[in-house]
Symmetry: C2
Subunit: 208 residues, 2 copies
DNA sequence: CACTAAATCCCCCGTTTAGGTAATTGTTTG
DNA sequence: CAAACAATTACCTAAACGGGGGATTTAGTG
């Protein structure tokens, strides 16, 4: 067993791949001996060599790195997978994190810090480029929804606990009829037509 | 207008407060002239002095820093609020982020890096102690739920779109009766008894 | 002061849903 | 191979729900 942090790279651009390898192997405590240029062989290589950390690109020629992350995750849930991508769109970021990445580096911003990020990942952290981190945090924050009134929000809140009309009525000390009326208004405002739809929308849009 | 990043501290322990102030005022580009020892006066001070960054403790004598964060957020949504707390429990972390914090530093781990974190926050980042960052990221990942079968997961998926039995049946090319049956099983497994409850649970527990 | 919006309560009616019981067909797995 | 489980369909009933009316009170706003 070596003392090095073993790294595998999956990245299609040869220049970047080589640069990453050099950056890593010039640093102490980390070592990269295997790098792959597409997703399928990358995943295969990762499963075979079982590194401590994977550096994963997203825009790969054969299939998205995101599905690769999922595959690796299924086999080795403890492995640290760091995304290193040029893509900064909402969907790529969150899909990658949902798939199991433990960090997300934007190529343009953080490629020189990749070794530092590897240390951080091994240290139980979650290295992210600043802009990514901010967006991740922002995703927790409720967006201000003028549409729904305060009282309606309370009703919606109870609804999201899965309560029936009757239970909501009890919780808010109003009649079942009033709950029904609020729900009608909420449905109109959210453009939905059932409790489950309303709950789904409310939770996804972080209204509650 | 000064060129300094203006910082206000809200922290009840005098020793820490003083140390933070020294750390900040010994660094360049940042300056702290106001510090408060409880939440209410802290919020008041923040609203009055309108700093660029707020350093906020959570365990304050009068009320939780979390409500303070919310109050500040309501007035100045663009202000960067950094939590600096000893509390590392799940609830404190996520409540603080939901309330509007843009970063979370664990006192024991990151107090020396507080100035660095302030720079990072002003730079559009979201400074977090390593363990916090990892937990934030982990919260995106679907927890492996053996309980629900693959087919049931599909049904649950459609359910989370707010569909009726009939529409789910159409979407999955099965009879309404089968949908009903799946739902019954899902309800049992999730320990719920209605569509909205199931949707709420599925989305909150990230089953879908 | 009139107007509006929010919150409250009421009725009706048809549809949807939840829970019970039962049965058939594959697939997986010990 | 038998047992267990997943997926499928069926029927019945009472309760819950969604959409359609209408009404009152209070608070805020032009």
């Amino acid at each position: 067993m070596s003392d090095f942090i073993k790294v595998v790279i999956v990245e299609d651009e040869k220049d970047i791949r080589d640069m990453l390898m050099r950056l890593i192997n010039d640093s102490k405590d980390v070592r990269c001996e295997h790098a792959f240029a597409d997703c399928r062989s990358g995943v295969e290589g990762v499963l075979k060599h079982q590194p401590d950390v994977v550096l994963m690109d997203l825009g790969l020629p054969d299939e998205s790195g995101i599905v690769g992350i999922g595959r690796i995750r299924d086999k080795f849930p403890e492995m640290d997978i760091l995304v290193l991508s040029a893509q900064v769109d909402e969907e790529s970021v969150f899909d990658a994190l949902c798939a199991g990445a433990c960090g997300y580096l934007v190529k343009q911003q953080s490629i020189e810090n990749v070794v530092e990020a590897i240390y951080e990942a091994k240290n139980g952290g979650a290295p992210m480029s600043a802009s990514i981190a901010r967006r991740v945090i922002a995703s927790f924050q409720r967006k201000p929804t003028k549409l729904i009134s305060a009282r309606e929000k309370e009703v919606l809140n109870e609804l999201c606990k899965g309560k029936s009309y009757k239970l909501i009525a009890d919780a808010l000390f109003i009649s079942e009829e009033t709950v029904r009326r609020h729900l009608k208004n909420i449905y109109k405002k959210l453009e939905v037509s059932s409790k489950s739809e309303a709950v789904a929308k409310a939770l996804k849009e972080k209204i509650v």
